[in-house]
Amino acid sequence: MQDAAEGNATSGGAPFLEIISLVKSFGGVRAVDHVDLVLDTGAMRCIIGPNGCGKTTLFNLITGYLPPSSGDIRYRGQSIVGRPLHKIAADGIVRKFQVPSVFPEMTVEDNIRAAAGVRHGRSVASPAELLDMVGLTKNRRHMAGTLSHGEKQWLELAMVLSTAPRLILLDEPAAGMTRTEKTETVRLIHEIRRETNVAALVIEHDMAFVAALDCPISVMMLGRIVASGDYDTVRRDPLVREAYLGAVNG
């Protein structure tokens, strides 16, 4: 597993990840609107908010898939805006897509082998250990396209981990899962963080899932972060109650 101390080798006390006044406009729509966010080495934060509030767009900006309209993203003391996608990933920021994204006509095992191609000297668990961790050892010779939705989510998580990331961006990692699968996913995320000290940003809709992750939360609405804090603080925020939790909890 990844060396915890190595993740701390950030230059000059700069935050591990610092998002500064980030804006992304699509035509007239500001999908991300002056977002500020700081994440420490090895820390985890959940991002919640209604459909279309800009959560995935924020991930698209951090991973370099989309260029920001303005603002900056600083990672380990350097701006990463404008860096090619694969360089950002190779530097340790790796995402799991909202729609599980695997290599369907390849075996589960080869999915991990292909994913693990680039890790730049950072040490990581073996493909066999990773498959064991996500409970897919018995499926290792199956085509990834034949897995259930939940299993694909876990496979993609293992693929992300196989690159020895420093920061994982999980876009709705429990979407489409059964209750038991969700519980298992929570356990998995805790285990991963215990063993690798990888930092994580997690987008999720399911409030029970968010509560179980037990980490600080940022609430997005119409592209802005409107509230931050732990689960109970966020729950008590009147704006959040009305606009989001109210809608979810009925």
Binding site: T63, Y65, L85, H86, A89, A90, V94, R95, F97, S101, V102, F103, P104, E105, M106, D110, N111, R113, A114, A115, G117, V118, R119, M159, V160, T163
Partner: protein, 329 residues
Amino acid sequence: MKLSSATLVGLVALIFFVVLPFIVSDWVAADFGIYFAYALFAVSLCFVWGHAGLLSLGHAVYFGIGAYAMSLVTLGMVPGLPELHSTWVGLAAAIVLSTVAAAVVGWFFFANRGLKGAFLGIVTVALAVIVERLAINSSYLGGMNGLMSVPPITLGLNGDGPEIYDPLPIYYIGLTLLAVAIAAMMRVSASRFGVSLAALRENELRLWTLGHDVAKLKIAAFALSGGLAGLAGAFFVVQFGFAAPSLIGFSLSADVLIWVALGGRNALIAAALGAVAVRFLESRLSNLMGATWPLVLGMVFMASVIFFPKGIFGELIDRLDRWRDRANG
């Protein structure tokens, strides 16, 4: 270790082709030497298209470069080196030039964001048409007539020593070349590089955002495939004795696409068998059917795309796979 179904089919085909010359006349065997060159060409396209998912509609460019390079060297036409006639230098030139050409083309196509899907197809077609025109307009390359009287394989270091043009030795050289190339490319496909190429075909964005430099991967796949096509072109021209602009152009590019699609692009051996089968049937049936042959081939092609989207031999390998799975419980 359990052999894959593709390997099994390959071994059966190998045994079949090893004994074939004992059954048919030398005259038939001579044709197969040419078919093996085409099969090698089909393997090169299958690797880049079937395995890495990059559709190259102008692949004859690299085959043609190999054929012309071999011809120019063995004919003593390399500028400043009139004494050079070596088959071996010709072979090396064919492979190196076609590899470099494919790498340069790949770089233009794939650097930065890169071309994809239909755009890639259209640009590769345009390339084949342009290169064919260039060959026709080049007096150095013999223009429309091409380069004639290309010598056969000559074993000596510089075009001296025994020449190989008897059908049987050529047949077995071709078969060996083909078998070794398929085995080697299967190894490459199963390597970490090869698995990454398969992932590129399956989901480019996923691979890219895992940290892979997909442009580099594509250029490498193109270069490797181009080199193999160049080798095929060189082996073709030492048998055929004649390098013409048609070897480098659009029509052969379309032919090889049909062989690979008909044989099956999911397995290198299927593509090779597709090339041999189509060329063999063509030589038999075009005498019988005359001008209707291209029509028949076209119809068979369309039917197979509809009924056997994995190709005829590809489907066979697939069924064998499923049958063996069931047999093993």
